[in-house]
């Protein structure tokens, strides 16, 4: 316990956030030997089972139909469109993390793809060498120094740490789709986006299914590694083995 004192304030903040979430979660920690990466494993595993059922009977079949029926250029257009819709929020988060030249690139991408790229259907900016960034509010909080908190698994939403669950809540507020006035249009966009995201994960499904000894743990550890990589923008410091 000789870590820097500056952490204690953050710990308190984290504890507060945890308390709120745990009240929601109902605390289901029944696993005898606690995994330090996964203090709420009991609760998470039961939520994972719910999620798998929803996925099996709803999300995945719809995504498969979409993936098989829709030609590739249209799917690419849909993916590009939602990428463009999220670009402003990516830029805001780049700026909040002090990466102002990245934020400039994000804004440039938004302008180019919304105009030359016809409402974002074509990712012209990437062709021009303006690289797409991957930012969200969870990463911003991490850069600001917030710890991740315990790992949580939510049905439909999937893996999130405590911090990233809060970040996800803020991301929703930064999502332009939420500000579309027409309710049917808004809901259709949200639905299409979910299908697009789920369809893009279909190839990974098979790998996880085959590779994992324990699918729940495989997905958890993959999520935690991926987030770490995102927070460090693809160049995480090496961990000691």
């Amino acid at each position: 316990m000789t870590k820097s004192l500056g952490l204690s304030g953050m710990r308190k903040g984290r504890a507060w956030a945890l308390g709120g979430l745990l009240a929601l979660a109902g605390i289901g920690n029944t696993i005898a030997e606690e995994n330090p990466h996964d203090p709420y494993e009991g609760f998470n595993r039961s939520m994972f089972a719910v999620h798998e059922a929803i996925d099996k009977y709803a999300a995945k079949p719809v995504a498969q139909v979409y993936d098989n029926a829709v030609p590739l250029p249209v799917k690419a257009g849909v993916g590009n469109f939602f990428g463009n819709v999220g670009e402003l929020w990516v830029g805001v988060n780049s700026a909040l993390q002090g990466k102002f030249s990245d934020a400039g690139v994000d804004l440039g991408r938004l302008l180019i793809n919304s105009t030359v790229g016809i409402f974002g259907l074509f990712d012209v900016a990437s062709e021009l060498g303006l690289e797409r960034h991957d930012e969200d509010f969870g990463q911003t909080m991490a850069v600001w120094g917030a710890g991740s908190g315990g790992y949580l698994f939510w049905p439909v939403i999937g893996s999130r740490t405590v911090r990233d669950t809060l970040g996800w809540g803020v991301d929703i507020m930064g999502d332009p789709v939420g500000y579309v006035d027409s309710i049917p249009v808004r809901n259709s966009l949200r639905g299409l986006r979910i299908v697009d995201i789920r369809a893009s994960l279909l190839p990974a499904d098979k790998v996880v299914e085959e590779a994992a000894l324990d699918k729940y743990a495989y997905i958890r550890d993959a999520y935690l590694q991926r987030r770490r990589n995102q927070i460090f923008d693809g160049r995480p410091p090496r961990l000691d083995d």
Partner: protein
């Protein structure tokens, strides 16, 4: 005259040794392009033939991998608890599992393009990271990095990292769990069982 000839001979030796020690980034790019070229021209692999793709990976990819190191990395501190014989069994089973699952991922290859990132290393480096990116229409590029170490037989891959996820260390918690439940032999048995069930279900 003799001196000159000798110098020439030595130079020739050094040059061929340097050629045998293909630079790690060159190696990654060459093998990737060779494999993708074969897949692009092979209907059977595109239709999901596991045997054919495993055959391809066996010939082209595996000689450049160090599975013992990969298994040790996946095991973490549990590795030292295994006897040499158990280490051998673990390596064999883990190799089968990795080869099967990720070879199958290759059969879904289509429309992707691999971009090789700029690479720099010092001549004395023995452990490097080669970065690539897989581009596909409508999606964010996926980072695909290889950790390589310099061994006597050339550079060998000991870790593959997809979007920041090490396909090797991602097993550490699962392996640890199995060892806690059934010891090293329990872990060997459960990987072997997984391999058997995958083999039973595979598309020929």
């Amino acid at each position: 005259m003799m001196k000159k000839l000798f110098a020439l001979l030595v130079a020739g030796f050094v040059a061929s040794a340097a050629f045998a020690q293909e630079a790690p980034d060159v190696l990654v790019q060459r093998v990737t392009e060779e494999v993708l070229e074969i897949i692009r021209n092979d209907r059977e692999i595109q239709n999901g033939s596991t045997n054919k793709v495993i055959d391809l990976v066996d010939k082209k990819v595996l000689p450049h991998f160090n599975f013992q190191h990969m298994t040790a990395l996946a095991m973490g501190k549990e590795w030292r608890k295994a006897s040499p014989q158990q280490q051998q069994q673990l390596t064999a089973e883990f190799k089968t599992l990795l080869v099967r699952t990720y070879s199958n991922a290759l059969t879904s290859y289509k429309n992707q393009k691999v971009v090789y990132k700029a690479f720099k290393m010092a001549p004395t480096d023995t452990d490097v990271l080669v970065r690539t990116e897989v581009h596909q229409p409508g999606n964010k590029p996926v980072q695909l990095d290889y950790s390589l170490e310099r061994l006597e037989g050339g550079w060998k891959v000991y870790d593959v990292v997809v979007a920041g996820i090490s396909l090797v260390t991602n097993y550490r918690d699962q392996f640890g769990q199995e060892v806690r439940n059934g010891g090293i032999d329990g872990l060997i048995a459960s990987i072997a069982n997984k391999n058997k069930s995958l083999e039973a279900n595979q598309k020929k």
